[in-house]
Amino acid sequence: MTDPTMLPATSPEAMPAALLALIAGHGPEVAGWLDAALAAPPPPGSPEFMRLFAVAGRKLGGTAPQGRPPGWPPARIARAALLAASVHAAAAEAPARLAAAFRRSDSAERAAILQSLMLLPDPARFADLAADACRSSVQPVFEAIACDNRFPAAHFAEPVFNQMVLKAVFTGAPLARVAGLAERTTAGLRRMAADFRDERRSSGRPVPADLDFLLDPGP
């Protein structure tokens, strides 16, 4: 099974089907259920959507086929397919609708929304939602946007990206998993990292090794 975010570029209409193909091995009952859901996708955040979104976790939870990509259990792919179809159908209302869906989601559902952002039509529209998700204290939710996700490097303004990177250092999310970090590292981010190193030194506490990703190689 491939990482869904590595799927070849496809039209917004075709994305749910491409995702569906990834979980085709789950048997006719699951495929039928998902087909029906995708045929008439309810708007994100509506009660019908939230019910399907929750049920996807139970329908596909706990069954991890061989070779699944890390971070993309089948339930998450199914949720991504639902999101892609519903967001496409919601057209211009999608940002407000998706924000409502996010607010009503539990932690696993939120992580699924964040991980799916790059699969949605015109993802730049969801930058506010993604920036807000960086404020989460629930580590798996924070890591769903900060780690192994191309969205921040592609769509975050510099202050938001820098705060996210520093929070990753604070919370122990490995910087090696921040996609596009090297391209987005600026003088501002290096200055923040250097200040943080000074703060740790003056408090007599260890400097996180991950800061080396950001700091200029010292003398």
């Binding site: 607010r103 404020r135 989460s136 204290s137 202050p159 705060q163 520093l166 923040m192 200040d195 000074d198």
Partner: protein
């Protein structure tokens, strides 16, 4: 020695904590309004929270002989939700007039976003209008730059520094805060922010003037006895009783008394506990015999064993 914890989130703590705090000599606390670990989704949730801070929590503290004050405000994390802002600021404006509210807070920066600039500035204006001091949270990330930006904004807003408490200081920020003329709080946490030995070092370097320590105890790993423990660490390091009392008692009182809602003379008199009392028909007791103390006139015995 009587102790004042100028920053502790008692709503998150148990009655055992209240009892232990009182035994350790804490007779007054300030509870700043903040977030609940996850963001609220409706402005109305803040109204019930503010009501509990001026109501049930104040009563609960009194049942253990502790005077409870609070600060109200929209915290920086939730300031980033545009759906909340207008409604919550209206509520803050309304509830700031309540009994026991001694400052606007905790307000300040988290991500240092434009929304946080705006909400901080508006709440500083609100404090000026209500004649209240402000209690400032400094950010965890990019702390030094965030503290400098806070001091710049406060200077531009024209609030006198003696009405400002800048909290969560460390070795990187204390000097600039003291130079600004503001009061400087320090959160003594197990494992982050500041610890007792480092705090002793800061007091040895900078003295006790305008310095406070607090526990910021909340729903996370934290210790509501950090004020008495730090007082003991300062004594053990040879810091005078006079200086310790300035830090853990006189300074918080002097700062929050500027609100006009906290009477320093009254604070010297122990709060008699009467557990027969009810709050809206509710009690902290679960079948126990109510403890009733006679109104005391003598000073509280020095009970802090750290």
């Amino acid at each position: 020695m009587k102790l004042f914890d100028p920053h502790i989130h008692m709503t998150s703590r148990t009655t055992d904590d209240y009892a232990a705090m009182r035994r350790a000599g804490i007779v007054a606390v300030t509870e700043p309004a903040f977030w609940l670990g996850q963001p609220r989704t409706h402005a109305g949730s803040f109204e019930d929270y503010f009501l509990s801070l001026v109501g049930w929590e104040r009563f609960r503290a009194s049942q253990f002989g502790i005077r409870h004050f609070c600060t109200l405000g929209l915290n920086p994390k939730e300031a980033n939700n545009p759906d909340l802002v207008a409604g919550v600021l209206e509520l803050v404006d309304l509830y700031l007039e309540k009994e026991g509210v001694v400052a606007v807070g905790e307000i300040g920066y988290d991500d240092m976003s434009p929304a946080e600039d705006d909400i901080l500035a508006r709440q500083v204006e609100m404090a000026k209008r209500h004649g209240l001091p402000v209690m400032i949270h400094t950010p965890h990330r990019d702390k030094k730059a965030g503290t400098r930006r806070t001091l710049d904004l406060l200077r531009e807003a024209g609030i006198p520094p003696h009405l400002v408490l800048i909290d969560h200081n460390n070795e990187q920020t204390l000097e600039m805060v003291l130079e600004s003329g503001c009061w400087a709080g320090h959160t003594i946490y197990p494992g982050s922010k500041m610890d007792e030995p480092r705090m002793v070092g800061l007091v040895q370097a900078f003295g006790p003037e305008r310095i406070m320590v607090n526990s910021s105890a909340d729903w996370g790993i934290s210790d509501p006895l950090k004020v008495p423990k730090t007082a003991q660490a300062m004594r053990d390091a040879g810091i005078t009783e006079e200086a310790v009392a300035t830090i853990v008692w006189r300074n918080p009182i002097a700062f929050y008394a500027q609100s006009g809602r906290l009477d320093p003379a009254e604070l010297e008199i122990p709060l008699p506990v009467d557990q027969r009392l009810l709050f809206e028909g509710n009690t902290v007791l679960r079948g126990q015999t109510p403890m009733v103390e006679a109104p005391a006139v003598e000073a509280v015995p020095a009970g802090s064993d750290g």
